[in-house]
């Protein structure tokens, strides 16, 4: 049963991709959706067995690599972390997105390909979370990277999509490089890259080595989970179809990095430095992305920045050693972010494929259901009390303060500010799209309509999850003293701070994020709904414009990358290829050699001038030099060294005398 959870999406993908012509569009829909739904049902059963009943298991298939003491197997591990925290959101959301896409992509000529990619992506994601050693995980890790390249590139004729896809792949490869080096270090330190071996030996190892490994793993996670400075692929990858954005950039792909960090918790716990860096990276990313999100105008990009910001929260929670809270936020985020993305997709689809938020407005009357869903998603994102994200996001901020340390306070301040900013951009989006005066074209409004059942059902289910999931499951995941995760997570006893977070915080600190959120949300509605002129005036001066450009340009990260790093690399490549390989080496090597030989031949040939006086000169010179050679040692009584010097002087003189004739 456990392996069929993995295999079913792969089967769906193969059938839809390789036999798409035979089974047709609806065949492909039916097969892939059925496979996914079956897989989800099995995962639910697995959730009961593994999670509720607490019986993790591992399946050993075959030996993969067997080289001296490096021994890696095709082995899969189904424990609480894999099954409950990753399988459930990945499979549920993937199934819902499959269903959503049957309608959303129905007019695309490449349905089979699309569904094949979606299922393949799901398969690799499942492989990633169920591998029992780092190499099997890496198969899934690279697999989702490649399939996300294909998915972003789905509309392959668009130049922007091409660029975004290449950027996503190469930037992820930077992380893969870090991760690979991490594997080498792991193997050198532990002699194995099985989870079980590595984690059980971690307490006995040198802390510096573990820090290095932790930072290398973080590099991998930074690229996959879009943390500063490897984040810039994620906003660009919104060029893909909307369901892809929902699948990749909300629920699954970006959480792979988180999964890696959470899975490596027994390792990270023994390196406070690595944890500190992780906290700083996460908190900075959360704040950075939220400020960028404030001024984006593309509907999907706003949500993309919101994703980066939320990922920052999760990474921050990992840095604070609160892995279960991070996981809770992963799951919650998957639900409400998928809801937001799919809602955005429904809006875009029903409104003549418009994506610029400035060209919407007043859609509340046209798309009441979508509006409700987006509102639920946004409220959940805001951590409105008792909605899903409240149980994780708010808790992360509280836990940050409860560390009573520098990094904790840093994370708390940025986290609280980010909460306010999040509220602002979420309600800016709601306000611009649904509430303000209509800004779109008349035709678009005439054709605006609610989507059909295949869109409504996934939205509805996701909305339910966004409202209730946290309330129902929070005690299981993050309740005080819950042993739900058993051995799959490890929090060092010194790092447990949930009790402080619950009982020791001043009431003002507890309420601060909520107050800031409320303030941000009200401000957004006020500014964009009631006094839009004021917003325009705000940026209509030089300082305002500069700040706007800076934020809208995503802190100019792309400019730095493009102008310095990438063009520098290309320039260096050009230099190597043209100046070194085809220049210097060519001149010194083959070309130079043949040239020299030819020229020498020609020059020696020129000595033969046919003029008698020249020959007499040669004869005289020859005679003189011969005499010199014979009598020099007698005339000048010297040692061997000076003799050589004499010969050199003599040769130089010879060249000097002959050089006119060489020309």
């Amino acid at each position: 049963m456990y392996l069929s959870i993995l295999i079913l999406p792969l089967l769906g993908s193969i059938v839809s991709g390789l036999m798409g012509r035979k089974i047709g569009v609806s065949g492909s829909h039916i097969i892939t959706c059925t496979c996914l739904i079956l897989s989800s049902i099995l995962a639910s059963v697995a959730f009961y067995e593994v999670g509720i009943c607490g019986s993790p298991l591992s399946i050993h298939l075959n030996s993969w690599i067997d080289s001296e003491f490096l021994s890696i197997s095709w082995e899969f591990l189904f424990d609480q972390l894999t099954d409950c925290s990753m399988f459930i959101p990945v499979l549920y959301i993937s199934s819902l997105i499959h269903i959503f896409s049957t309608d959303y992509m129905s007019e695309d000529p490449h349905n089979q390909r699309f569904f094949s990619y979606l299922s393949l992506f799901t398969f690799f994601m499942l492989l990633l979370v169920s591998g029992a050693n780092y190499f099997v995980m890496f198969v899934g890790w690279e697999g989702i990277g490649v399939v996300s390249y294909l998915l972003i590139n789905f509309w392959f004729t668009r130049l922007q999509a091409n660029k975004a896809a290449i950027l996503a792949l190469t930037m992820n490869r930077v992380g893969d490089m870090g991760l690979s080096i991490g594997f080498f270090a792991l193997f050198a330190l532990f002699g194995s890259i099985d989870y079980a071996t590595v984690f059980s030996l971690a307490p006995f190892m040198n802390e510096t080595a573990i820090t290095i490994i932790g930072l290398l793993l973080l590099t991998g996670a930074m690229a996959k989970s879009a943390q500063i400075p490897l984040h810039s692929w994620l906003p660009g990858s919104m060029e893909g179809p909307t369901p892809v954005s929902a699948l990749i950039h909300a629920a699954t792909l970006v959480t792979a990095g988180l999964y890696l960090l959470v899975r490596s918790s027994p390792l990270l716990e023994y390196s406070s430095t690595a944890l500190l860096v992780i906290t700083l990276v996460g908190a900075s990313t959360a704040f950075f992305a939220a400020t960028c999100g404030l001024v984006q105008n593309d509907l999907k990009r706003i949500i993309a920045f919101s994703t980066i910001s939320q990922l920052g929260y999760m990474v921050m929670a990992v840095g604070l050693s609160q892995y279960n809270v991070a996981l809770m936020h992963v799951v919650n985020h998957a639900f409400f972010k998928a809801l937001l993305f799919l809602g955005a997709g429904a809006v875009i689809h029903s409104f003549a494929d418009q994506q610029d938020v400035r060209r919407f407005g007043g859609l509340i009357n046209f798309l009441p259901f979508t509006y409700t869903c987006m509102l639920v998603g946004s409220l959940s994102l805001l951590a409105t009390p008792y909605l899903t994200a409240f149980y994780s996001k708010d808790l992360i901020i509280e836990l940050a303060y409860a560390q009573y340390s520098f990094s904790g306070t840093y994370a708390f301040i940025l986290g609280s500010l980010t909460a306010g900013l999040t509220a602002f951009y979420s309600f800016r989006l709601i306000s611009l799209v649904f509430l303000t005066v209509p800004n779109g074209s008349r035709n678009a409004y005439l054709n605006a309509h609610e989507a059909n059942l295949a869109v409504i059902i996934p939205l509805f289910i996701l909305a339910l999850f966004s409202i209730f999931f946290g309330f129902v499951f929070s005690d299981l995941f993050v309740g005080i003293g819950s042993d739900f995760f058993a051995n799959s997570l490890f929090i060092h006893p010194n790092n447990i701070s949930i009790i402080e977070a619950e009982f020791s915080l001043p009431i003002f600190i507890k309420l601060l994020p909520a107050i800031l959120s409320l303030f941000g949300a009200s401000l957004a509605i006020l500014l964009y709904h009631y006094t839009p002129n004021f917003v325009i005036e705000l940026t209509d001066n030089s300082i305002g414009r500069k700040i706007y450009t800076f934020l809208n340009g995503k802190y100019l990260f792309d400019v730095v990358y493009n102008n310095y790093i990438i063009s520098g690399g290309l320039h260096l490549g050009y230099m190597i290829s043209k100046v070194l390989d085809r220049g210097v080496i060519e001149l010194v090597g083959p070309y130079g050699l043949s040239n020299t030989l030819t020229n020498t031949g020609i020059n020696i040939g020129k000595l033969d001038t046919g003029v008698v006086t020249t020959y007499s000169l040669y004869i005289t010179l020859g005679l003189l030099s011969l005499l010199f050679l014979v009598f020099a040692p007698i005339l000048i009584d010297t040692s061997l060294f000076s003799e050589i010097r004499l010969v050199i002087i003599y040769l130089a003189a010879l060249v000097l005398v002959l050089s006119p004739s060489l020309k």
Binding site: W64, I65, S67, E68, L70, N153, M177, F183, L570
Partner: protein, 482 residues
């Protein structure tokens, strides 16, 4: 059995020789003979693999020919050479098939030269005598020279062929001197005798440098790479396939067999030098690859980068590293020919150009081709589930024990290979279909089968590398330096 491997291609070429090259029927007959000969050879080598005893590190299937007083010829294989022999017998039919339909003149001698090349290449891997190794190492040069000059496509092919010839010959001269020195000291050039005799460190160093120069040209290592991309760009497709698939592996085999085996102290002594050169080669050639505009020379350049990772693995002095190097060189032997078939065969035949900028949006008309091209591109970047991935990771894991910095620098290849490979793929396959291209048919069944034939071993061995690893554990463990 090995003597069969060596003789059958020659018999095949003798059979082809009397046939007149005047009708299509005769041409087909020659092609059939050449192909079936190489396939028979493949079959025999597979039988050899089946009969191979993995529990010993000694040479097996030894055959000694000393009936004539002036001729002593002994052959045999061990776990290391076995897979290179298999690779050769596997690549040769593919090379013959890849130019099956687009050589119009002198097809007879084309086929004959490939059959002879097969014999010569197998001989390089199976001879157990240093001097014979040198002879066969050099003997492929004239044949390839002829192939490039007569059947090549570029305008500069004569210069390319000349460079290829001169570079390799110049490097090998030093090898010849070294072999003569070994002969005068040991009294024999037999592999087993040399490995038993002790060579002082002082002379090992000099010998090592001489051998290294010869192999560094063949690998190739920077700055001796000048011949590779030219020879690739100007040779016919089959020539490129052989060059990338097997001839570059001479160097790998040479490092393992000669440098590590006979000159262990010097190999250890010069380890840092080799690592530095390999890293320089890796990074320089990767950066230079990104800006190539000729598809074939791009892939040729990427070969340089991969081979430098192989070098890192070989000189890591760990079992993982050396096994990884062997795996990676085999993987490169599958993937690089496949990419040459993609760009130099499929695309070049249809569009008539190899300039990347002229080709765009092929996926519109050639979806099946694009899928295969994509998979091979990924394999070239070392994606998990491909043999390249295992080779690369094991090599770098091995070198980590020597020097973590070198290993980390070697890992930059992971990023850079993705940059150039995906750039090539994306540029050619995606985007709006170029208005200057005609609508082309998708790949033919023959091209498809060729590519699939190369894909299957890459993936299967990527998932189950133990098939190979089991039989190279023992010979590799004898190469370690203590």
């Amino acid at each position: 059995m090995i003597q069969l491997l060596l003789i059958i291609p020659i018999i095949g070429s003798l059979l082809i020789l009397p046939i007149q090259e005047n009708s299509i029927k005769n041409e087909n007959k020659m092609k059939t003979i050449a192909l079936s000969t190489s396939l028979i050879n493949l079959l025999i080598s597979i039988l050899l693999w089946v009969a191979f005893d993995t529990s010993t590190s000694e040479y097996q299937f030894i055959y000694e020919f000393n009936k004539l007083s002036f001729c002593h010829f002994n052959v045999g294989i061990d776990g290391i050479s076995l897979y290179y022999v298999l690779l050769t017998t596997f690549i040769t039919p593919i090379a013959i098939l890849s130019n099956y339909k687009n050589i119009y003149k002198n097809i007879k001698y084309f086929l004959i030269s490939f059959l002879i090349l097969e014999t010569l290449q197998i001989a390089v891997f199976v001879v157990l005598d240093l001097f014979l190794f040198y002879i066969f190492f050099e003997s492929v040069l004239p044949v390839l020279f002829i192939i490039i000059v007569v059947y090549g496509s570029g305008e500069n092919r004569i210069r390319s062929a000349l460079l290829f010839f001169l570079y390799t010959l110049a490097g090998s001269l030093f090898m010849l001197l070294a072999i003569l020195h070994i002969y005068s000291n040991v009294g024999s050039t037999d592999f087993q005798l040399i490995s038993l005799s002790e060579i002082s460190l002082q002379s090992q160093k000099i010998l090592w440098l001489a051998f290294f120069l010869a192999f560094a040209v063949k690998t190739p290592l920077w700055p001796l790479t000048g011949w590779l991309y030219r020879a690739h760009a100007d040779s016919p497709l089959a020539g490129s396939i052989l060059l990338a698939g097997t001839i570059l592996k001479f160097a790998t085999y040479g490092y393992l067999r000669v440098l590590i085996n006979f000159l262990p102290d010097a190999s250890n002594y010069f380890g840092p030098l080799v690592q530095t050169i390999a890293i320089v080669t890796l990074i320089y050639s990767s950066l230079a690859t990104i800006i190539q505009q000729d598809t074939k020379s791009l892939i040729a350049y990427s070969s340089i980068a991969h081979m430098s990772v192989v070098i890192l693995g070989i000189f890591s002095n760990t079992i993982q590293g050396i096994e990884g190097a062997i795996l990676l060189s085999l993987a490169h032997g599958f993937v690089s020919p496949a990419l040459f078939i993609c760009v130099g065969g499929v695309i070049y035949e249809r569009t008539g150009t190899r300039i990347i900028q002229y080709i765009r949006g092929l996926v519109t008309y050639m979806p099946v081709f694009t899928i295969l091209f994509f998979i091979f591109t990924l394999c070239n970047t070392g994606i998990p589930l491909s043999l390249n991935f295992l080779g690369e990771q094991l090599s770098l894991i091995g070198i980590w024990e020597k020097s973590p910095i070198i290993s980390a620098l070697g890992a930059t290849g992971i990023v850079l290979s993705a940059c150039y490979s995906v750039y090539l793929y994306n540029r050619i396959s995606y985007g709006v279909y170029s208005p200057h291209l005609k609508p082309y048919i998708d790949i033919t069944r023959q091209e498809f089968n060729l590519l699939i034939a190369l894909l299957i071993p890459t993936i299967v061995l990527g998932i189950l590398p133990n098939v190979i690893l089991y039989s190279i554990h023992l010979p590799v463990s004898t190469l370690l330096y203590y």
